[in-house]
Symmetry: C2
Subunit: 330 residues, 2 copies
Amino acid sequence: MGRLINDGYDVVEEMLEGYTKVHSDYVRFSEESDRVIVSKVMSEEPRVRIILGGGAGHEPMFLGYVGKDFADAAVIGNVNTSPSPEPCYISVKEVDSGKGCLYLYGNYAGDVLNFDMGAEMAADEGIRVESVSVKDDVYSSTNFEDRRGVAGDLIVFKTAAAAAAKGYDLDKVVQLTEKANRNTFSLGVALSSATLPVTGEAIFEMNEGDMEVGMGLHGEPGIERKKLKPANEVIDEILNHLLERSPIKEGDETLVMINGLGSLPLMDQYICYRRVDQVLEEKGIIIDRSLVGNYATSMDMIGMSVTLVKLDNELRELLAASCDTPYFKQ
Amino acid sequence: MGRLINDGYDVVEEMLEGYTKVHSDYVRFSEESDRVIVSKVMSEEPRVRIILGGGAGHEPMFLGYVGKDFADAAVIGNVNTSPSPEPCYISVKEVDSGKGCLYLYGNYAGDVLNFDMGAEMAADEGIRVESVSVKDDVYSSTNFEDRRGVAGDLIVFKTAAAAAAKGYDLDKVVQLTEKANRNTFSLGVALSSATLPVTGEAIFEMNEGDMEVGMGLHGEPGIERKKLKPANEVIDEILNHLLERSPIKEGDETLVMINGLGSLPLMDQYICYRRVDQVLEEKGIIIDRSLVGNYATSMDMIGMSVTLVKLDNELRELLAASCDTPYFKQ
């Protein structure tokens, strides 16, 4: 694998500098922190503000969803590392309009700790900040509270943003966001490690021709490592696990997302989607909507995940609400 | 490198089946050919119809730009292989509204031959079809007519579609499309080969840690193969070649596109953009607009290209015109 960067220690600053120049219609840097990206197209009416964050290296995840009627700010850490509390706090000061803010991030210990500290700093100034950590990776734990957040981040974030855009208060936004969180189930497969910018080396070793179902976004161990199989068999295995660990059953309406982890061609992602569609149709599970593409990556990791969202009328409507950001427009 | 597919001979059919299911709001298969994707949101008023095409393996290129006020159809060949004349002809029958059609493709011998034959078959039925082949790869020849088409396809296609959407006749659409073609200049760098689905192997050998500036979308030879350098130095070298082989000079207004070839992280693409921005600012060349992302890939090739478009008021307006397709919305 190869990367096209300068000093590996400068990747986040240089990326953010490039990003804010390209998308200057949508975003700006906070004047207080070069790790806080703020929407320039934020609603003028007071609303619950939506703040996303986490480590860099998942692009377009986090910063790509800051814009109109989606996230109001994103807080970006180093590669695969939570942002520190200070920028989390600064992001609140940048966007709060008196209705409170909601932090949204994947459920990783570092993010929980640092965003919690940011929320405490904001509370000291009388600003209420709630947090929802996304927990969609069904293999990471049998206990919901211990699950990691992976591609389902997008689903939970979008639900929260749409609820905020409807003018709901912070309690109601949190309640709807948690509903999306509990109804979103993901499982991925990796064929390679990402390349770490600082070392130029793989984060972990993986033989060519191997795969690991259940691997996390940062290379967290999955179910077992074995020889790569044809796409249809891989999808069948993923769906078996997903349906076993979710309440989704015949007659349910779902949103399906295929998320590419960075280096898996779109061609392969649509081939994977085709099989998901076949299997769910056989099982009488209804696909109301589908998304395919690189929504939350692990830089140049080869792999993908399948996310199933159990829809009801409320979630369907929130997920379909219009928004306009560099990486999500509808 | 690894791919997640079934039989390598079935990748195009399976991908198109998945694609048309996911994006059924935008596209359908032609009833006459499973290699012709037709817009379901085509303008109802008679217009010049825009038909894109070429080999598969460049996704989202070609099919991803079929939708509203962009392409009306796409004709898809096998991987890295032109479609045959029959589907080219069928696409015309599907979309013509009496104002004629424009075929748009990269300048490769197979595409020229097969689309020309499709146009002759249409002419036999009294339908006028013109063709513009994109020629933006400045290193591929010093002679404009012999240049290959790479990421600049997007620029030329968008210009044509916007001109058709304004209701211009076929002659005027062709004239504006050729103007975009002559004002678009690209040069890329590759760090690896793509993996061919049928063999599961690289199309050509490349040592890890090497790069080749000027390599084509299918691995056509570039300027020289040498050790990978830091991103800023690579961009400086690309811009030196690009500016030497284009008329762009101080005071000119440009559109800049960084196109990822498939497996280069967005992080790296924005780091590359940052340097392009710095260098053009130093040289007094104005960036009016910029695009960064995977617009025309070579499946899982690691690499990127820089495209500079010399703008005038007419091109700026056409490139900014609104459109709505799965992979290009504005």
